[in-house]
Symmetry: C2
Subunit: 529 residues, 2 copies
């Protein structure tokens, strides 16, 4: 397999020449009904990816597909699946796809079948959740658990939280809500304090999630909660389970009711489909709901093997993003789900994308001369329409957009006002925004002119179910993976978080004395340290 | 007063020449303890603005201050306070400062003293909240209200929600929490459905907020809630109050327990200190808490009149932002509060900034040739550190940063782990990040190199109290105002939201038939409309 920087490829030259030769992309005439109907790719779980309103034409798409072949994207994805060391910075395999099912031969590491290990842990925490639901596992006063609180940060928080919120109301209506879910993440003591005050401790099970077992925030919050349990006369060993690696201090530790394991081949931001997301989601909604989510993700992973961009939405989405980032020079992307249930999904994608591809060196550590991962942000529609869409429509810069929407709501309750249901209004707004961004509007008054030419894609489906959510999650994971491969960088390490950790330890070790850096000491003094 | 586009000013040429002549700004040697201690500006409510880690030196600051004088920023702010028509697109005054107190002569409009009107409404809803707390106003079954739910979107949601969340835990500890607060915003029917299911309707008062009284989402959600109240055998007239303008269909309407008024001189995103935020905050925490918030905001408004940038944090913050946006070409800004209570404050600032200054025409409607408002995004620290900070430290682009932090937590509960309190760790992380972003770190391995040179500011104070929160809110309002004045645009209209509304109406009127735009019809068909 060849690993080549993007700007050393023939595809880069070809795409740069296409961009240079292109006149303005006239959305107003190009965005026909025919284009909308044709420019769609089927996704897993019945979702579809619509790219009609993206600023790409046949020559660009052909060049992008050729670039995908030149950069051997499908071959490299297969290498990931086969267990090659695709996180070279840390010398690790990248195996989150294996959490959802096997695509190829078993991955054996030091004599161990990793897929079987992941399956075994899935079965273990599925059984555990069954026992909690059956009441055979109870809190220290004998009361059944009614609430599950996850203690974790970053990938141990954002993904699981986004998925929990995405399914909470679907589950309530479907009769699947078993335990109420809550989350503690921030080292700010107010976070743990307010969550602890909001639950009945004797009916609460805490899921402590840290792969290394040394995450500063998570350990502090664990002790905070243990102190609370002690104060309430409860036995913490009956109220905590751990999700960690087998080599961590939390593993095989009698301080926990049980421990469930992942390994170094599951990156934090890719861990939602492991026990990191699976324990709380199974406890909250039952193991079947989590299994459905995995099935949707596995189907998406399977589709991502397809070399034809007309059949591989993750690949096409990735390549269009490369076009926008490296040839149209757009430094950001907005994620705009028209679904209140996806309120925190943009925050998860923000981590997934920015932590994976916010890198300026290639996989060998050489500096890159081209732009990599964009800034990702977003809020649900229609809320965003009444907030930052002003800039998206009429600002001085173009922000590429990614919409998500569903035909049906999750809860089914609705009201007709002025002749239409709220769900109908929601979808009408979504369709209207896509067209407004693309086509714009002329006006004699400058402040009422919409230039248009704001590109967007749309992922849509029937309803946000567990399967659809799994498909959506894996779509974005695979999109980010393909982009990292195009950029020839390592999407699976995060060295950028280290320096802050080192300096924090210096401040804490200084205990108000000197850390060795006078500026750091001066800031510490401002903050009363 | 002269209104001149930024690129026609002498200051623009001077700043562009400074940027062109400048070699790299060497933070590693420039960020000394002395600079940290000196580069601070006092703010209202005891807060301070620290700009030591911003990439500005004396020549740049002198040029920025001269630009402020050339663009007559203080004079134009005084014109806003005096009631001149500073929203020329809509022909309106801009009077949100007057909600917090009077700075100058009374503003008379068509014979009416507007300040007195705002004061009267403040007194009316303060009394109303007193009566709810005293139990003289109750729900239709005679039960006292325990919960207040705001129904509004955009400025009627994001600001009030951010403020509510910022004070909720402070109030719980201070014994000020009177009613629990919740919010319904999205037209997605799942939003209203799940909030309605989560409250005891007979003990809930709903605050319906729409200045025009015609906001599609808010009216749909109102009818949704009214239907729920009817189904529960409750009288909606005993459970709803309105915040609106006197000319709206909601005004003087017996369908509501009471109505409180604002006028067209209060823009949605600037309305948190009117009844839009004041009714729910007074009901939730008592009128004294809201009064304290107003006092903090008024103090900030007063300080913003100071022409010396060494004494006017909002002005200095605005000007540094201009330097970063127009001369260093950074297209985004991140807001990073090290306070879980400020979890949704970045979402409010995203609206405030992007909706105010995401414009490409000047106040006369002429197209501008320079960049205006940046993309604004952010999440609380330390959470963000485990998410998107990777890109901020090691991505290919520089993102200017705005930190916020407090010496003390709100709830006071804490735990010592490995020799330090969580609050201490929180602050140590904050200090460490500022220095890490500024100074970076060399390393023989490319993936462990931190280039540094990432500029940041810090707003800090003793604790996030109502006064401090009001000061923080007004600081950013005034910062955005000054930037809009530098750019010579109208920060107070939002024409960019109109086209989507028009096309949405076309889709809804088509009722599955044709809207007149085949692409719009095709998208509608995809979404099952």
């Amino acid at each position: 397999m060849g690993y080549v920087d993007l700007d050393k490829t023939a595809g880069y030259q070809r795409l740069a020449a296409l961009e240079a030769a292109r006149s303005t992309f006239d959305f107003a005439s190009l965005l026909t009904a025919e284009r909308v109907n044709q420019c769609q790719v089927p996704m897993a779980a019945g979702l579809r990816y619509s790219w009609a309103a993206k600023g790409v034409d046949t020559p660009v798409l052909e060049a992008l597909e050729a670039l995908a072949q030149e950069q051997e994207l499908i071959g490299k994805y297969q290498a990931i699946l086969a267990g090659e060391v695709m996180n070279p910075g840390e010398g690790r395999k990248v195996l989150h796809h294996l959490l959802r099912g096997q695509l190829g031969k078993p991955v054996i590491h030091q004599g161990k079948d990793i897929g079987a290990f992941y399956q075994q842990e899935l079965e273990r925490f599925s059984r555990f959740s069954d026992e909690v639901h059956a009441g055979t596992i109870r809190g220290s006063t004998g009361k059944a658990f009614t609430t599950v609180v996850q203690i974790g940060i970053g990938g141990s928080d954002l993904g699981p939280r986004a998925l929990y919120l995405a399914l909470e109301h679907w589950a309530a209506v479907a009769g699947k809500q078993r335990l109420l879910g809550k989350f503690i993440s921030n080292v700010d003591p107010d976070d743990a304090s307010q969550i602890a005050a909001s639950v009945s401790l004797e009916e609460t099970i805490f899921v402590l999630v840290s792969k290394s077992g040394t995450t500063q925030e998570t350990l502090a919050n664990e002790l905070f909660i243990k102190a609370k349990l002690h104060q309430a006369g409860l036995d913490p060993r009956k109220h905590l389970v751990a999700v960690t690696s087998e080599t961590s201090p939390l593993a095989h530790n009698p301080a926990y009711l049980d421990s469930f394991y992942i390994d170094d081949f599951i990156g934090g931001r890719y861990s939602s489909t492991s026990g990191v997301g699976g324990v709380i989601l199974s406890l909250a909604f039952g193991k079947e709901v989590f299994a459905a989510l995995l099935a949707g993700a596995h189907e998406a992973d399977t589709l991502a093997l397809e070399p034809d961009i007309g059949k591989n939405a993750a690949l096409l989405d990735a390549l269009i993003g490369i076009w926008e980032r490296n040839f149209q020079d757009y430094p950001y992307t907005a994620i705009l789900p028209y679904s209140q249930a996806l309120s925190r999904f943009p925050a998860h994608l923000q981590q997934l994308d920015m932590e994976s591809n916010g890198k300026r060196v290639n996989r060998n550590g050489d500096f890159l001369a081209y732009a990599t991962g964009p800034v990702v942000f977003g809020e649900p529609g229609t809320n965003g329409q009444h907030s930052f869409y002003q800039l998206l429509h009429q600002g001085t810069d173009v922000v590429p957009l990614q919409f998500v929407g569903f035909i049906e709501s999750q809860r089914g309750e609705d009201v007709t006002v002025e002749g239409s249901l709220s769900q109908t209004k929601l979808k009408a707004n979504l369709a209207a925004q896509i067209v407004a961004f693309a086509k714009g509007k002329a006006d004699p008054h400058g402040n009422k002119v919409f230039l248009g030419g704001r590109p967007s894609s749309l992922i849509y489906g029937k309803q946000l179910t567990p399967e659809a959510l799994g498909a959506l999650l894996a779509h974005f994971e695979n999109k980010v993976m393909f982009q990292g491969l195009v950029w020839n960088l390592n999407s699976f390490d995060q060295e950028g978080v280290q320096l802050g950790k080192v300096l924090t330890k210096q401040v804490l070790a200084a205990h108000g004395g000197t850390s060795g850096d006078p500026a750091l000491d001066a800031y510490s003094a401002l903050l009363g340290l």
